[in-house]
Assembly symmetry: D2
Homo-oligomer: 131 residues x 4
């Protein structure tokens, strides 16, 4: 069963734009906050991974926008593990406000070492991600 | 021949993150700055469109990241019109630093009226976009 | 006794910069998130104020940075009401990580109507702010 | 005579908020872009300073907001050197749109070494800043 987590967030005024809605790049920030929390709660805190020389770079990102988000909206970001490969993995996201799905998306990440060269994911992390 | 434009930008310190590179959501900002300049220079300034009740909402965005960007990097964003439909259109982007393609991407936009309902693109704009 | 509130936040990766710390403009975002929550919990939600034609514009902002903030740091923003005048008010902030004060600051706000003209704060709000 | 520079910028849509104006934290970004360009053109590029182990951290920032800025506004940021001390310096800024001063501000910076300890500004840089 693929792992997943739910992260509640509230839209900040700084994230809105002159059309009165959340500026579209900020959905990627919501994804990242949710992904970071998901990994931290799973025992894969950024700092510990970095200390071990394991970093991730974003290789691809996609967002589909279904409904506008406004200031103060309470949202929940669901994060799911997608594909897990030797040197990369993907995550899938869904942002909901109540019962409304306001956006979905995916991000792909490549594991790199301190010099930025592609490297295998730590075996234990890969096993955990694969659920 | 599809229309295109080239927009030079320089990476701001505010756009970098703790990995020393441009935070991945900011590529969508670069796309938007380039698209805005492309449209403004073509005679489709945001303010004039808004005054006429024509707005665009982002329906989808994709970015493929090929190389990291760093503070002070001089980049050029190439914007091309993709598909032009009755109520929507897409744009394609390429970000280069010198000869290196650092990212590519696409965005899809739906034309809406003042109430946010899908509406046809102004005929003259559609003709211009189609080149 | 002046009103105050404490707002817990966690530093996002998007808020860091290439020096590995939170980019200095983001402290103003933390202040704003804390101020918004403080007011919302006090019954002065943005939307309700806006519906009544009451808006606030930032007239001045000051931040003193005492210690760097890093990704994932858990912080608490304390918001206090400063001066309350007929058409304006100020807030004072302190950001702490554990026992360390990492930043302090103030913001000044002018009340404006829908047309952006300076206007008196609603009497009930002024009384509430004054504690 | 104190050194100064003028940096033209155009307001990005990403920088606006739901009140239809530039979100107030972004004025600090404009200051920083202008300061960076001012220093780079003076021969003090960030990368060269960093390679020599010279970094600056922001110790204080102040902004006074005089008029709203909107999407696509063409602005000019004037940067002036303020005080120059052994281990710190200040800059003063003015943002204008045409003849209108829309914001003014100051930032204070402390010179630090690679370990983040306060350090004297390089003598040649201090002389240059002092004009």
């Amino acid at each position: 069963m693929p792992r997943r987590a739910e992260t509640p967030l509230r839209v900040r005024f700084a994230e809105t734009d002159a059309q009165g809605v959340v500026y579209h790049a900020n959905h990627l920030v919501y994804f990242e906050v949710a992904r970071g929390e998901f990994l931290r709660e799973g025992g894969w805190a950024y700092e510990a991974l970095a200390a071990a020389g394991t970093f991730f770079v974003v290789a691809e990102a996609r967002v589909t926008y279904r409904a506008p988000l406004r200031y103060d909206d309470a949202i929940v970001v669901t994060t799911r593990v997608g594909e897990v490969r030797t040197r990369s993995c993907t995550f899938e996201y869904e942002i909901r406000r109540g019962d409304t799905v306001v956006a979905t998306g995916t991000t792909a990440h490549v594991c790199v070492d301190r010099e930025g060269r592609a490297a295998p994911l730590p075996e234990s992390m890969r096993a955990w991600l694969a659920g």
